[in-house]
Point group: C2
Chain length 476, copies 2
């Protein structure tokens, strides 16, 4: 494709995306295709001769759009948000257009240096401790990973490196994200060496006293307590573990403290929400939060900071001959390939840089506050309605609640709630997801898309009530 052809088709694609963003609301939120339907609508074999890009764009409308669930829809309330935004898309486009490799400082210095800058900017914005800053002469630093899952693997490797040889043990709670168990499997620590610490049944936050006991038991039994993962904003209900108390225990036992703030961490752009990081400054060895969830930056952009990058680099660094270069040998530069699992890396800093510059601290705070406000509004609706039981913790953008089904067993109630959820999602008017707490299925409304306005959450709430009423009215 010549540059001129790229210019022509590029404008068409930009127009398509602008139109898509302007009209996303017209699509049913969740795709209605059946398994196999998308694939069956496309040729089974690749073309022998090249086709026009118009053909690709035609299939986009015909096959792809009906086959996707619209995560950018203002009534998408599932899982957690996956924010996209104009400046992020453009930053990503610049990255694709430049097509550089950032595996080493030397392979494109700006790719590394802009990244060290923007992760420091983000640390500023979130008021994270100075020891996380990426000064070449400091011990700490930040890096963009593809996901908090990969960041968890890196944290486990660093913690294991620091702990030395032995039978390593990791500590999580029942509410910790499944990626920690996955990291234990990937790293060979093994699920048998993941201790699940009890949570407080009211708050679903990790019980520090139980953590302390577990670590003491393991020390006595000859294990090496290696890493504790504390979560700030769990996936299920955005519970917040008591990081300060957990950190004190970690310090006493010399255990690495990883703080998983994948979803909620970015909320610290707002000073009034910075309580969420209480204890992080003093105790966290590593900390991860995902601008690709609630901070307007397209997936993938998960930022991991470390107070001391040395054990991570020791765990991951290998320098084959063909990558040797004077900048690396000088020790004056950061080589990010030693901070991640892959070797190659895209210029992901461009999108986070574009987002922070376009919105400014002010705009980012306004975005988070709007999500918190809308969530507060929905929570108020639920609290005022005797047909529903509100989960009392909703400080961020997630509201959990369950419909009450008088006269039904818990099992039947759960089944009814799942049926309600399916009907809502089948309607195409909104998309929600669910979780299970203490045996009860809860509906989850995660609010935080930049397109979501008051009318969307109001309308979602009315729909939920209407579907519930209609189910209640049906003969059993």
């Amino acid at each position: 494709m010549t540059p001129e052809q790229f210019r022509t088709y590029g404008r068409q694609v930009v127009d398509r995306i602008a139109d898509y963003l302007a009209t996303v609301e017209r699509h049913p939120v969740r795709s209605t295709v059946a398994p196999g339907e998308v694939r069956a609508a496309l040729p089974a074999h690749p073309p022998e001769r090249g086709e026009s890009f118009d053909a690709v764009l035609a299939d986009l409308d015909r096959v792809i759009l009906p086959g996707i669930t619209h995560w950018q829809h203002p009534s998408f309330f599932g899982y957690f948000p996956a924010n996209a935004s104009g400046p992020a898309i453009l930053g990503d486009l610049l990255s694709s257009g430049l097509g550089v490799q950032g595996m080493l400082w030397a392979t494109s210095p700006a790719c590394t240096e802009l990244e060290t800058l923007v992760v420091d900017w983000l640390a500023d914005l979130l008021d994270l401790p100075p020891r996380f800053r990426t000064d070449a002469d400091g011990a700490g630093g930040g890096v963009i990973q593809d996901s908090a899952s990969s960041a968890a693997v890196v944290a486990v490797l660093a913690a294991r490196q620091r702990a030395g040889e032995g039978r390593h043990r990791l500590y999580v709670s029942s509410q910790t994200h499944s990626s920690l168990e996955k990291a234990a499997r990937i790293t060979g620590v093994g699920v048998d060496n993941v201790r699940v610490v009890d949570v407080d049944p009211e708050t679903l936050a990790m019980d520090p006293a139980r953590l302390d006991e577990s670590i003491a038991e393991d020390v006595a039994a000859g294990f090496v307590p290696t890493m504790v993962c504390a979560t700030v904003g769990t996936t299920s209900t955005t519970a917040v573990d008591p990081v300060r108390r957990i950190g004190e225990i970690c310090r006493r036992h010399g255990v690495w403290l990883h703080v998983d703030a994948a979803y909620a961490g970015v909320a610290a752009v707002c000073p009034e929400l910075r309580w969420l990081n209480d204890g992080v400054a003093e105790h966290a060895d590593s900390y991860v939060t995902n601008p690709h969830k609630w901070l307007l930056t397209n997936f993938d952009c998960s930022v991991l900071w470390l107070a001391d990058r040395a054990p991570m680099v020791d765990a991951l660094s290998i320098l084959p001959e063909y990558l040797r270069n004077t900048a690396t040998s000088s020790g004056e530069v950061v080589d990010y390939r030693d901070w991640q699992i892959p070797l190659g890396r895209r210029f992901r800093a461009l999108k986070l840089w574009s987002v922070i510059r376009w919105y400014g601290a002010e705009g980012l705070r306004a975005h988070v506050r709007r999500g918190v406000e809308l969530a507060g509004h929905v929570a108020g609706r639920v609290a005022d309605d005797t047909r529903f039981a509100l989960w009392p913790w909703h400080p961020f953008g997630l509201v959990c609640f369950r419909p009450l089904w008088p006269g039904m067993s818990t099992t039947d109630s759960n089944a009814a709630t799942m049926t309600l959820l399916e009907r809502l999602n089948d309607s195409g008017a909104l998309f929600a997801s669910h979780t299970k707490v203490e045996g009860h299925v809860l509906l989850r409304l995660a609010i935080g898309s930049p397109a979501t306005r008051h009318e969307h959450v109001e309308s979602a709430w009315r729909r939920i009530v209407a579907e519930y009423d209609s189910m209640r009215a049906e003969p059993r």
Copy 2:
């Protein structure tokens, strides 16, 4: 950013990229910035108020472009190519614009189904075996990973799962990519359990007899031989391990055979180069090649196929409540989160689909053939010149050779070759990299950018000769 603002700035960014691609040749290939220079040219702290996107674009020219090494420059011959192309950039742009998450089939069916389709298309194009196809009722399948490094981790995990408990051992050669050692570290197999099998000193290909011995020794010593990595096109010199003979040994011992064809695998779009995959159809348990190197598809796009996906899914699958859904429970769909380290995933299939459709099989073959031809041309130049010694193996796009420094020791010759390389790269006229074989530093010219024409390789060769002559003429 409103859709209309996105339309306006999007067109500007498209124009910038079109202009960049049209004029990339005017930049020095390698960035000349010093460590810290890029960062120092930008504000130390994030802006409080949002800025115009014009400011971002202005800094792109002022700071970013001088700070990058131009991997898309027609005279970039370093490492391996990192091909970008118009349709790939546009496919990536569509992915960013749609902003969907493909972690599960259910979270956006088209993201999964288009991926199963295009990896099957690519298997067709490369004439890979039918057992790698992603039929829902078959055992095998393909998946897009970010890199061959991550694919290696996944392969090790699958191999370990199949092998069961025990002291696992991996087998590589001295020419195997460092990502295999990295995978051994990440997975906890440990570098002590990576056996480095000798290579034939003439071809640098793994010696199957030595592999057989190593495995037999390990079995006798109570280890569990778990995986052999055979490479098709090593990073150093594009050596090709004898996959068929290695595969027979693997089969006899029940060891997983992973084939790393990260660079060279895509060359099999050309029937005349399919000898490179001899033995793959019969013996490979997993196979990886990177369209993001030499097949016109922007990083990241590394395709991993498995003959049996079950051990991988067993090693990586965890299903927390919030991800449960009817499609997953039905078993009728592929959930790619179980095929990779991260949970979340971008819609990367769009770019590979765009590339295959735009170029067609015909266009992809023409692209690879052009690289092979140009490499053959350079190799001819080197062979005809008594001042240089050609490394005799150059079937793909890589040509390795060394300048001869009469009267110098090997150490001094290597230093002189490195000085020559630095002078060439400092000139900005071309960028090359190096490797070391049997104690000798070799220069590497990796040809394969779609922008590279005959004049660029001719001009690079003249420059190399001129710099060499000028060094020879200097007083010692």
